[in-house]
Amino acid sequence: MRNYGGYMEKGQSTPFYDLKLWLRILKCTRGFKRAMGVAVVLAVGVTVAALSLPYLVKTGIDTYITAVDLSPEQRFSGLVRIGGISAALILCGFVLTFLQVVLLEWVGQSVMHRIRQQLFSHILSLDLAFLTKQPTGRLVTRLTNDVQNMYEMFTSVIVTLFNDLLRLAGILVVLIFMNAKLAALMSLFLPLAMVLIVTFASLAREKFRAIRSQLSRINSFVQESVSGMSVIQLFNRQSWLFSQFDGLSREYLERTLKQIRLFAAFMPLTELMSWVAISMILLYGGFQVIDKRLTIGELIAFIAYMRLFFQPLRELAQKYSIVQSALASAERIFSMLDTERKIKSPPSALPIERINGAITYKSVSFAYEKDIAVIDDLDLTIDAGQTVAIVGPTGSGKSTLISLLQRFYEPQKGTITIDGHDIRDLDLETLRTIVGVILQDVLILDDTLLANIVMNSGCSRARVEDILEKGGMRPFVDRLEQGLDTRIGDGGRELSSGEKQLLAFARAMCRNPAILILDEATASIDSETESMLERAIETITDRTSIIIAHRLSTVKRADRIIVMESGRIVEQGNHQHLLSRNGRYAELVKLDSFAEEQEQGIGTSGSTESPEPFPIQHSNGDPL
């Protein structure tokens, strides 16, 4: 198995100094300015509290502990006073830090929530032509991981970065204030540390990426193996499979060991740096103490500050890589948000009062991909109230015809009208309410059957009961344990494909569409459900209906049959008429083994289980 499943982003790095990007990220925090301001104030408070402690200790040493000219009692009471101030500061620091963390979390999450919502509704509004070209994984990653990456930057970076930088600056200021020369010496470590950090961060990122991608390879391998286990066992391929797995797991081990080596080298290095710094302070500061240019308290404070100094540096190393991936994520999110949809409601939509449901396609041509015409200069007129069956091999353009009517795609040429109105002049939502669909794919909500039927149509329970009654679908509901209140979907009752179509039928009727589209199920349906579905469909006589037919029984009932092939209509008329023409339709029926069985006196097509009575041609079919 060569599964490289698990969606991985292509490696790309966004420049750190992309000012436009930063500005746009900053714009996302609109409405949280005050909260951000408070966070900054809190950060200042936290830094002041943290930095005053070593200074207080220094004051304690210099003014009291080593002040030989004061009495022991005076010295001790001074020490206690300093202790009191320190205690207050420690407590302050604690509370302020807590508040800051929670506040930032709230701001970060709220901002991300807003971005995620914006992105989600944007994606739902985008053209199918665009969406179908995107792997599902990519779109989901935008909504989840990319947003998460940006969030990490917001909370743990933007302001922690601010905290750390503030602290570094604060330490430098205090040190310069205490002893400028020694401070200058210590600041020499800053560029060194920076170089080390940036090198490490980029190396570590690479290693982590390698580990993650290998792990996702292993995971998808296991997933595929588990779902295909019966096949693996029936073909006795266990040992072969295991050797494949062993290879993957060995590679994973290698990659983790590489990462361990990197960390083993880097982690102690920062430690080394801090000890070297301390020894230099001791050496240089010691000389100054001997020369009486520095007090012992200051020397001890210097050493304490040095420890505080290296802590944020180490954190910066981690933050650096977070910022990198966050910037890349931000760029991807923004580029998705910048994708514009082509299919929109017109600025001023035609007011629609009553729709009769007459449809015309006027020399319509359409291709999903350039030059591969799926609908080819097609003309078709359907009168209001007519029932039309479309037949033809897979890939002949049946489903596309419907998608164009719903305006999921825009034809490259020609116009489509409903009751004489160009569908482009109608409000999109109105159009899709006029055209009700019963597709093979049924959207199931994790809710009761009733809620699934009603959805957002605002139908009352009584109306639903009425629809079920009229459509002869009562038995379907009655055989569920709790009738209309049975929960379906995830964690509820699983519906068979026939039941799903019944649901879709009831759902469509709730919306009372002027035009009804039915894509007949190709999958096996048990005969009871099937006859229920057939009867239900027979009850629709009062509106225009277009049926993509897979069953001969349906086809024969239609007012008109349209035979499609390679995006064109090759024949149309009713069943008898078309059979007598002895053309493509008659051939399709014959190919359905109809005639052959006649000779033997055994008429059958086995259509209960046959998904496609017409010859299957290889094609990409409907892209969704």
């Binding site: 020490l79 620091g93 963390v101 739902l124 073909f235 001791l282 050496l283 055994i602």
Partner: protein
């Protein structure tokens, strides 16, 4: 490792309620790896402990410098000497740290790999019961989260535990050496830190899990919305989806803030308590310096030791949680790895089965475990060779019969025979190597077409693959794919129709070249004329061998040599098509129905 591994035979131990004892877990899952890597572990720990002691000497050296400076006896040479010593020790520490990280953390990865392989190889030996009781997600979780937990516990967890114990004991020793009473005072707040970390990080873990759950709900919702975007648009259902996503997002924010509340406490608490110790040293230690009981150097060393103690104290809480999680994960892994297939494999001395397409059932009766409904009820028939059709309504037992043939479930003695031998006297592998199988919704792997077809046997030549594809009537369509036989199937490659999938699965079964072929409704998505050609090809290929086809299509059944009809587990008929048309009312009724479907008035 598989179910026959001797270590698994200690199953009685785990049967005693309340989970597995730690010793058993250790013996079964870990001890071998620890033994195998004992040299690595030994050197690793020596390096780790050396680092701890070396680190503790540095404050002592600094103390000397400060003392000499306070006393005014410090000279440049002395300071130089001290600085050089610090750098020297620090350098040694760096090297030793590198060594232990590589050795000890590396060990945890070796352990992880060994467990991962054990799990996978065990899964490969499991039967359908096992997979019906566990979702793929469960098994995946063992393979990722649980392994990660064990790896953390045996890597960083073990290191931190040893490090914390050695470092804290030694640091406390050094402090007591300087001044016992001050040590007592300074250490007073530290146990609080351990307790606080333990409580907080346990709660953090809990709340963090909740965040993860919310995140996967969010992901799943986004995924299903993206997948069904066409339907959502068709139903003008966008706003509803946006609102739901919004509510889930709100819940997610809430869960995150709950985590932040703990996070906001966890780290400040450590600095709060560490600083409290510092405060105590400042006041009481300062007093001692004033009284001349300790030197200023002692005072400085004391503060350094205290800071060194903060990490081990935090580690105690952290390690406790890691260990706990590690043990829970080990239990789950152990659960998985000791699960045994219900289908007991070979009898003590399995008989040798000659290659044969012959089998028979005698009063075969079967219910699924935990159910009293008889899926098969005294079914008897015998097959020598030829194409046999099976039909019957949904739930009549057709698929169950196929599964029993494939030995996916156990049967009673004396009820199922292959080539006159009772299946219970034969090994499962032997029987399975006689049968190839095609299901209605076949599983294909994300790989090339040729790899998928060639999956049926070892080292299959391309000629064999093509011949099988031709017989399955898919060859021409494969050639029409962009890369022919090298076209990749699945998410990253082309999407196949149901009929194409079924025919590729059929080709895969043909490649295996086994005397019995079971097609469980595996041609349902193939159109009738193709079906015709396939049956013709099968007739040639399986001369003197057996093809067993489950179907409800009269057309297909009419091409078979004879047809078994099942009704609620009983064999109602066993006769050729023509006979059944005359005699069997069930057969007549489906025949009539399918005839009407086809239309009669042409």
């Amino acid at each position: 490792m598989n179910s026959r591994d001797p270590q698994n035979s200690t199953g009685e131990e785990r049967a005693s309620a309340g989970g597995v004892r730690l010793r058993t877990l250790w013996l079964r899952l870990l001890s071998e790896q620890f033994k195998q890597h004992r040299t690595r572990l030994l050197f690793g720990f020596v390096a780790l402990i050396s680092v701890d002691f070396l680190q503790l000497f540095i404050p002592l050296i600094v103390k000397q410098a400060i003392d000499s400076l306070t006393a005014g006896t410090g000279t440049m040479v002395h300071l130089l000497h001290i600085s050089a010593m610090i750098v020297g020790i620090a350098g040694t520490v760096v090297v030793l740290r590198y060594v232990w990280r590589r050795l000890l953390i590396g060990f945890s990865r070796y352990l992880e790999r060994s467990l991962r392989n054990q799990i996978f190889s065990h899964i490969l030996a499991m039967d359908q019961y096992f997979f019906s009781r566990r979702t793929t997600g469960d098994i995946m979780a063992h393979g990722s989260n649980d392994l990660a937990a064990v790896q953390m516990a045996c890597g960083m967890g073990m290191v931190a535990a040893v490090d914390a114990i050695v470092l804290s004991l030694a640091a406390v020793g050094f402090m007591i050496h300087i001044h016992p009473t001050l040590t007592l005072y300074a250490l007073l707040p530290l146990p609080l830190l351990a307790v606080a970390t333990r409580i907080l990080s346990a709660r953090l873990h809990h709340r963090f899990n909740h965040v993860q759950e919310q995140f996967s709900l969010l992901t799943e919702f986004a995924r299903s919305a993206v997948v069904s975007v066409k339907l959502i648009k068709a139903y003008t259902f966008e706003q509803h989806q946006i609102d739901r996503f919004d509510r889930m997002g709100e819940t997610y924010i809430h869960a995150n803030i709950r985590v932040a509340m703990i996070n906001g406490l966890l780290f400040p608490v450590s600095s709060l308590i560490g600083n409290c110790g510092l405060l105590i040293i400042l006041v009481f230690g300062g007093r001692l310096v004033i009284d001349g009981a300790i030197t200023l150097g002692d005072f400085a060393a004391f503060t350094t030791y205290l800071q060194m103690l903060i990490w081990p104290m935090m580690a105690v809480g952290w390690v406790a949680n890691l260990t706990q999680r590690g043990i829970t994960a080990l239990r789950r892994i152990d659960d998985l790895i000791t699960a045994e297939p219900i289908l007991v494999d070979a009898p003590a001395n399995p008989l040798l089965l000659p290659g044969t397409g012959k089998f028979r059932a005698e009063n075969l009766t079967f219910s699924y475990p935990g159910s009293t409904i008889k899926q098969l009820d005294h079914v008897s028939f015998a097959v020598d060779s030829g194409i046999i059709g099976i039909t019957g309504a949904t739930g009549s037992g057709k698929t169950t019969l196929c599964k029993l043939l494939l030995r996916l479930y156990p049967v009673d003695d004396g009820s199922l025979f292959f080539g006159d031998l009772d299946v219970n006297r034969l090994s499962v592998d032997q029987i399975r190597s006689q049968i190839s199988y095609v299901s209605q919704e076949p599983v294909l792997f994300s790989d090339t077409v040729s790899a998928n077809i060639g999956f049926g046997a070892d080292d299959v030549s391309l000629e064999t693959i093509k011949a099988a594809a031709e017989d399955a009537d898919i060859h021409q369509e494969i050639l029409d794919f962009n890369n022919g036989y090298d076209t990749v199937i699945g998410e990253r490659g082309i999407t196949l129709s149901g009929g194409q999938r079924q025919r590729i699965a059929l080709a895969r079964a043909l490649v295996a070249e086994r005397p019995i072929l079971v097609i469980d409704d595996g041609l349902s998505a193939v159109d009738t004329s193709t079906e015709n050609r396939i049956i013709e090809a099968l007739r040639k290929r399986f001369e003197n061998k057996t093809v067993f086809i489950v179907s409800n299509r009269i057309k297909l059944l009419s091409m078979t040599d004879r047809i078994l009809i099942l009704e609620t587990g009983r064999l109602m008929a066993d006769a050729p098509h023509e006979t059944l048309l005359r005699t069997n009312s069930f057969y007549q009724s489906i025949h009539r129905k399918q005839m009407q479907e086809a239309g009669t008035n042409a």
